[in-house]
C-alpha cells in the first residue's frame, strides 16, 4: 500500500453516474471522439475523482455515503493504493 | 545592500527575451545605477511592457476628453465613475483579455470577467452588470467555433457564479480576427458617491495586506510575454499557441465572490486606507502603482505571501498572476479587524509589507533585501514613444469571400443578411448568461437597443435607471479610422437614446495591431482623434479604458477595433424604450439624417467587396439632434418602439422590430431613392426606426426629420416601393428561421 504523509493510506474514490440515468456529458464525449478520428469507442461515462490521504481506510465508505457521492444517482468505487 | 542570490546576474539577452529593447535595458541600468538582478529585471520588464506602461499609446490617450459635470472619477484609477444622482456613483470600465483567450478561451474569457469585476470593486463599487464584446474569425472555421464556445462558456461560468448579470454585448465574425480573437469585458458597479476609494498608498508605517487566494505560478510572465508581442503561429490555427497554455491564469468565481463581499465589508466598515486589485503583472504592478500614486515607498517581504506552490522564488512571487487577490493599505491598529473580516468570508489575509517614505520599492525575502528600485523609475519613467503614422498606400485586408451576388433579389439579400453571423440572433449566447440576478434588469438582451438597470427599488413613482451599451465595428474603422470611430461612438449613444437615456460617460478598449508599423500607427492615431471628437460632441467624456496592441500575426493585423462602452441615465424606467413593434395599426416612421450607403456595410461584405478608401461624410450635429429628439420622445411615452438602424440597414431593422414584437409590418418607401439596394440595406449613422400612435410620431416629427413609412400589423413583413411594386414580402416564420442561424454553433 502506498504510504501517505505521516502514516495512513492514499485512496482514490471514483464516482460515476448510476447506470440507467441519462449521462449527457458521457454521450457528448462519446459523440466527439469519432469526429476526432477515434473509432470503436462506446459506453462513455463522465464522473469525478476524489483523491485523499486517510488514516483509517474503513472511514472511506461512510465518507462516500455521506458526502463524496450522492448514492441516489451515483455509484462509487474506492481504490486504496 | 541587495543580497547576492544564487541565480546569475541576467544579461541584456534576458532583457530582450522578456520583451525589453536594448535601449530600455540600458535605461534600466542607468536608473538602477548598476545592472538589475533577476527580480528587478523581471519587475521592470513587466511594468515597462506595453500592457502596463502604454508606451505607444499614452501620449495619444492624453488627447481624449475626460472631464465633465458628471465625472466623479476620471482615468487613472482602477475604474472611472459618474454621478447618477441620489448620492450614487456608477463605476464602469472595459478591458481586454485578447491574447490569453486566443490561447485558452474558457479561462481567458473567465479571468477577463474576473479582472474587470475586481477593477470595479477595487474602487468601492458593488458590480451590478457585465457586458462583453467578442470577435472571432468566420464561424465556418472549426477554430473560430472552438474559441466562441469556450469564451461564451467562460463568461457564463464566471459571471453567473459570482452573481453579476451579463446584460448585453456584441459579437462579430471577420477573417482578420481569425488568429487574433478579441475578448473585451465591460463591468458596471454602484457606490455611494462619497465612498469611492482610491488606490494611492499613504501613511508611513501603514501595513500592506494581501488578501484573497493564495499565490501560485499562474500566468508568470503573462503580461510581457503574451500581450506585448505578436502571437507566433497562425498557419492552420490548430496548434498556434498550444505551448503557451502554462502561462494562462485559471479563475475561480467562488473565490472572487468571497473576495468581493470581503472587500465591500472592509470598505463599509472604514477599515482601509486604500485598495487595489491584482491583475496583469500581479504584485509588481499593484504595489508599485499604489506607491507611485501615493508618492511613497514600500517594503514587501515575499516570505509573508501565502503560497500555493512550494519553493517559489522571489521574482515568481512578485510577478505571479494568480487570480482573485487584492492589496490594501491598513493602519496597524486595524490589522486584527481586517483579518477578522477576511476570516469571516473564508478569505486568506496576510500583512506582507509596509508603506515607507523612501519612495523606493524594496523586496525582501525573510528580511533579506533581494530587490531595490525607485518607484518612479518603475512606474513613471518608462519611455513613451511617439507613433509614426503613415496612411497605407495599399489595402491592408483581403476582400471577404463572397457568398451572395449583387444581382440577388431584395428578399434573398434580406434573408442572407438576417442569417449572417454578424446579424443573426445572439439568443444562443445570451441564454447562457444570467441577465437578471440582483433584480435590476428592466430591459434584457433583445428587448431593447440597450440594457436598462433600475437604480433603486421602484415603489410607486418614477424609477431612475441606468442604460448601457457596448459597440464597435472593425470593418468600418478599417475603411476609415477617423469616421468609423466617430460612427461607433454615435452608434453607442443612439442605442442609449432608443431606451430614453442620456449619455453620462464613455469607456473604450482600443484593439489594434503593431503600432510600431506606420500604417497601424495611422489607424490608431486617426481612431483616437475620432474618439475624442465624438465624445466631445456628445458630452460623454472618457472616464477610463484600456489599450490592446500587437494584435497581429503572420497573416496580418486585425481590423482596427475601438470598442466603445457608454453609460447613460433615464429618469423613469417605466418608460424605457423597447425594440419590438407593439400593436397592429400603429404607425412606423424613419427618423434622422441617415444617408444610407452600402460602403463597408454587411451587404458589401456578403458580396465579397473590398473595403472602400474612406466612408461617406455625415453631420455629427444632425445625428446628435436626432438622438436627443428620439430620447425625449421615448421619455415622454410618445413611442411604442425605437430601434437604431445599424448593420444591414433599414430592411434588417424592420425585420428585427417585427421579430421582437412577433408582429408584421407593411412599409412603403419613396421611389425617389436612386438606389433601391442602398435604400433597403445601406448603413450609416443617424437612422432610427420608430413606431407608435400617429399623434406621438407627429410630435416627434416637429423637431427632427421624420418620414412616415407604414403600419404595424399582420404576420408578414412587406416592403414596397411606391406606387405599387413590392420589393419583398415575407412571413414572420421565415424571418425567424433565418434569424436563428447561430443556434447550430451551440448545438
Amino acid at each position: 500500500m502506498a504510504r501517505a504523509h505521516g502514516g495512513g493510506v492514499r485512496a482514490r474514490v471514483l464516482i460515476r453516474p448510476k447506470s440507467g440515468i441519462s449521462d449527457p456529458q458521457g454521450t457528448a464525449v462519446e459523440r466527439a471522439l469519432p469526429a476526432l478520428g477515434f473509432s470503436g469507442v462506446a459506453n462513455v461515462h463522465v464522473g469525478r475523482l476524489v483523491e485523499l490521504d486517510v488514516e483509517d481506510a474503513a472511514q472511506l465508505e461512510p465518507m462516500c455515503e455521506k458526502l463524496l457521492a450522492n448514492p441516489l444517482v451515483e455509484d462509487y468505487e474506492i481504490i486504496v493504493d | 545592500m541587495v543580497m547576492e542570490t544564487a541565480s546569475r546576474l541576467p544579461t541584456v539577452e534576458d532583457a530582450l527575451a522578456l520583451g525589453l529593447t536594448r535601449e530600455e535595458y540600458e535605461l534600466v541600468c542607468e536608473k538602477q545605477g548598476r545592472e538589475p538582478n533577476q527580480l528587478e529585471l523581471a519587475m521592470y520588464s513587466l511594468l515597462w511592457s506595453e500592457h502596463c506602461a502604454y508606451k505607444h499609446s499614452k501620449r495619444l490617450l492624453r488627447t481624449l476628453p475626460s472631464e465633465g459635470p458628471h465625472v466623479v472619477m476620471g482615468p487613472g484609477e482602477n475604474a472611472g465613475a459618474v454621478d447618477v444622482g441620489g448620492g450614487l456613483a456608477c463605476a464602469f470600465k472595459v478591458e481586454s483579455h485578447n491574447h490569453p483567450s486566443a490561447v485558452e478561451p474558457f479561462q481567458g474569457a473567465a479571468t477577463g470577467v474576473g479582472g474587470i469585476l475586481r477593477d470595479i470593486f477595487a474602487i468601492g463599487a458593488r458590480p451590478i452588470a457585465v457586458l462583453d464584446s467578442l470577435r472571432f474569425g468566420e464561424p465556418s472555421g472549426a477554430h473560430a467555433r472552438y474559441l466562441l464556445d469556450g469564451a461564451v462558456s467562460g463568461i457564463s461560468h464566471y459571471g453567473n457564479s459570482i452573481g453579476v448579470p451579463t446584460v448585453g454585448g456584441e459579437l462579430y465574425f471577420e477573417q482578420p480576427y481569425e488568429h487574433n480573437c478579441l475578448i473585451n469585458a465591460m463591468a458596471l458597479g454602484l457606490a455611494q458617491r462619497d465612498r469611492l476609494i482610491s488606490s494611492a498608498a499613504a501613511g508611513t508605517g501603514n501595513l500592506l495586506v494581501l488578501f484573497g487566494a493564495s499565490t501560485g505560478r499562474d500566468g508568470i510572465g503573462g503580461a510581457s510575454v503574451l500581450a506585448s508581442a505578436e502571437l507566433q503561429g497562425g498557419g492552420d490555427g490548430d496548434d498556434s499557441g498550444q505551448d503557451m497554455r502554462p502561462t494562462v491564469q485559471v479563475g475561480d468565481p467562488f473565490a472572487e465572490k468571497k473576495l468581493l463581499e470581503c472587500s465591500l465589508e472592509l470598505l463599509e466598515r472604514g477599515l482601509l486606507v486604500s485598495l487595489q486589485d491584482l491583475g496583469a503583472a500581479g504584485l509588481t504592478s499593484s504595489a508599485s502603482e499604489m506607491a507611485s500614486k501615493g508618492g511613497v515607498g514600500m517594503d514587501i517581504d515575499v516570505a509573508e505571501v501565502p503560497l500555493r506552490e512550494p519553493g517559489m522564488e522571489p521574482f515568481e512571487v512578485m510577478v505571479s498572476e494568480s487570480q482573485e487577490r487584492m492589496l490594501c493599505v491598513v493602519e496597524p491598529s486595524r490589522l486584527d479587524a481586517v483579518l477578522g473580516v477576511c476570516e469571516k468570508w473564508e478569505v486568506q489575509g496576510a500583512a506582507i509589507g509596509r508603506v515607507t517614505d523612501t519612495r523606493r520599492m524594496r523586496v525582501l525575502d525573510s528580511g533579506e533585501l533581494v530587490g531595490d528600485m525607485a518607484v518612479s523609475a518603475l512606474v513613471d519613467e518608462c519611455p513613451l514613444y511617439d507613433l509614426d503614422p503613415q496612411k497605407p498606400s495599399q489595402p491592408l485586408y483581403e476582400p471577404p469571400v463572397a457568398s451572395l451576388s449583387l444581382d440577388a433579389t431584395p428578399l434573398e439579400m434580406l434573408l442572407a443578411l438576417l442569417s449572417s453571423p454578424n446579424i443573426a440572433s445572439r439568443r444562443p449566447l445570451f441564454e447562457q448568461y444570467d441577465a437578471i440576478v440582483q433584480s435590476r434588469t428592466v430591459r434584457r438582451p433583445e428587448q431593447a437597443d440597450a440594457a436598462v438597470l433600475a437604480l433603486g427599488s421602484a415603489s410607486d413613482g418614477p424609477a431612475p435607471a441606468l442604460a448601457v451599451s457596448i459597440d464597435g465595428n472593425g470593418r468600418r474603422v478599417a475603411a476609415d479610422p477617423y469616421s468609423g470611430t466617430v460612427a461607433a461612438v454615435l452608434e453607442c449613444a443612439s442605442n442609449l437614446a432608443c431606451v430614453g437615456a442620456e449619455p453620462l460617460g464613455t469607456t473604450n478598449n482600443l484593439n489594434f495591431g503593431n503600432p510600431e508599423k506606420a500604417h497601424i500607427a495611422w489607424q490608431l492615431t486617426e481612431s483616437v482623434r475620432g474618439l475624442g471628437d465624438a465624445c466631445r460632441a456628445l458630452d460623454a467624456p472618457i472616464v477610463g479604458g484600456n489599450v490592446s496592441l500587437y494584435n497581429e500575426g503572420a497573416t496580418g493585423p486585425i481590423y482596427p477595433t475601438p470598442v466603445i462602452g457608454m453609460v447613460g441615465i433615464l429618469p423613469d424606467a417605466r418608460r424605457a424604450g423597447r425594440l419590438g413593434f407593439h400593436r397592429a395599426g400603429q404607425e412606423i416612421a424613419l427618423v434622422g439624417p441617415l444617408r444610407p450607403s452600402l460602403a463597408a456595410g454587411e451587404l458589401a461584405k456578403l458580396c465579397g467587396q473590398q473595403l472602400p478608401d474612406g466612408l461617406p461624410e455625415f453631420d455629427i450635429g444632425a445625428v446628435r439632434a436626432a438622438q436627443i429628439a428620439v430620447r425625449e420622445a421615448v421619455r415622454a411615452g410618445l413611442l411604442a418602439s425605437a430601434h437604431d438602424i445599424a448593420e444591414g440597414g433599414l430592411a434588417v431593422a424592420l425585420a428585427e422590430c417585427c421579430l421582437a414584437g412577433d408582429i408584421g409590418a407593411a412599409v412603403l418607401l419613396g421611389d425617389d431613392s436612386p438606389d433601391l439596394t442602398a435604400a433597403l440595406f445601406g448603413e450609416g449613422p443617424g437612422g432610427f426606426l420608430v413606431s407608435g400612435e400617429r399623434d406621438g410620431l407627429r410630435r416627434l416629427g416637429e423637431g427632427v426629420p421624420l418620414q412616415s413609412i407604414g403600419t404595424v400589423g399582420g404576420d408578414q413583413l412587406s416592403i414596397g416601393i411606391a406606387p405599387e411594386s413590392a420589393a419583398l414580402s415575407v412571413g414572420l416564420a421565415e424571418l425567424a428561421a433565418a434569424h436563428s442561424s447561430l443556434a447550430e454553433l451551440f448545438a
Binding site: 453516474p17 440515468i21 441519462s22 449527457p24 456529458q25 457528448a28 469525478r48 458526502l67 463524496l68 450522492n70 441516489l72 444517482v73 | 462558456s153 457564463s156 461560468h157 453567473n160 457564479s161 459570482i162 452573481g163 475561480d252 468565481p253 467562488f254 473565490a255 465572490k257 468571497k258 468570508w345 473564508e346 445570451f430 441564454e431 447562457q432 448568461y433 444570467d434 441577465a435 437578471i436 440576478v437 440582483q438 433584480s439 435590476r440 434588469t441 428592466v442 433600475a454 427599488s457 421602484a458 424609477a463 424606467a573 417605466r574 451551440f746
Partner: protein, 224 residues
C-alpha cells in the same frame, strides 16, 4: 410574519429573495454559520452557487450549522422554500426526495418559462389555481429532476408534484417535466425556477409573488 432567508458563501439570489419576501412580510438574512433562526416563521433557501457548487451543488451547504436548524424546523412542520440552488440543498439534505442533475442540454440556460400549477392545495400554491400558468424565469445548469420510478409514482399520487414545465418549456430534461416538488408532509417545497425574480412589473412578470403570498396565507391560517 417573518421570513428567514439563508445566506451561504456563494449565494447569489439571497438579496433578491429577501426583497421578494419583504413585499409580503418581514424578512431577514440568516448567516450559514449560525444555528439561530431568529424566530423566522418560514425559511427560504435561495439560489446561487453555494460553496461554488463544489463536489455537487448543495452538497456542502447542507451540512452548515444553519441547515441543521432548518432540518429540525422542517421536522416540526415549519415552512421551507428552496429555490434553484436551495432546491439542490434540500435534496442533498434529504428534506426532499430526488436529486437535481446536469441539464440535458449540458449548458447553463436562462429563459422565461411557463409553469403549470399542478396542485394548488398546498402552503406554497394556495394563492394559485390548479392548472394556472405562471410566467417565471429559470436560470441554471443543474436542474434536471430525477427520482426513482417508484418514488415518482408515489409523489404523483400523493400530490407532491406542485409545478410542471408547460409543454415545450422543459430545457433541462427533468423527468415528467417536474419543476417543483414538496415533501410528504407538504411543508417543504423545492422549485428550480426563480419566483423571487417574478415579483415586479418593472423587471418582468409578478406571478412569482403568489408563492410568497401563499406562504403568508398558510402562516396566517395556522395562527387562527
Amino acid at each position: 410574519m417573518k421570513f428567514g432567508v439563508l445566506r451561504f458563501p456563494g449565494s447569489c439570489d439571497e438579496l433578491d429573495a429577501l426583497a421578494a419576501a419583504r413585499r409580503v412580510g418581514d424578512a431577514e438574512l440568516l448567516w450559514h454559520g449560525e444555528r439561530d433562526l431568529r424566530g423566522a416563521d418560514a425559511i427560504v433557501v435561495p439560489g446561487g452557487f453555494s460553496y461554488g457548487d463544489y463536489l455537487r451543488a448543495g452538497a456542502i451547504a447542507r451540512f452548515s450549522p444553519v441547515m441543521e436548524s432548518v432540518i429540525e424546523f422542517a421536522g416540526e412542520g415549519g415552512l421551507v422554500l428552496g429555490i434553484c440552488n436551495g432546491f439542490q440543498v434540500l435534496c442533498e439534505a434529504h428534506l426532499l426526495p430526488g436529486a437535481l442533475l446536469g441539464n440535458a442540454n449540458r449548458r447553463f440556460t436562462f429563459r422565461q418559462l411557463a409553469l403549470e400549477v399542478v396542485n394548488a392545495d398546498t402552503a406554497f400554491t394556495r394563492a394559485c389555481a390548479t392548472g394556472e400558468v405562471l410566467s417565471v424565469p429559470a436560470k441554471h445548469s443543474c436542474g434536471r429532476y430525477y427520482a426513482e420510478p417508484q418514488t415518482l409514482e408515489a409523489m404523483e399520487e400523493g400530490g407532491q408534484v406542485l409545478m410542471r414545465y408547460a409543454p415545450a418549456q422543459n430545457f433541462n430534461g427533468s423527468l415528467r417535466d417536474i419543476a417543483g416538488v414538496c415533501n410528504e408532509a407538504g411543508n417543504v417545497f423545492g422549485l428550480m425556477p426563480h419566483p423571487e425574480h417574478a415579483v415586479d412589473e418593472l423587471t418582468g412578470s409578478t406571478d412569482g409573488l403568489k408563492i410568497f403570498q401563499s406562504m403568508r396565507l398558510a402562516m396566517e391560517g395556522a395562527r387562527v
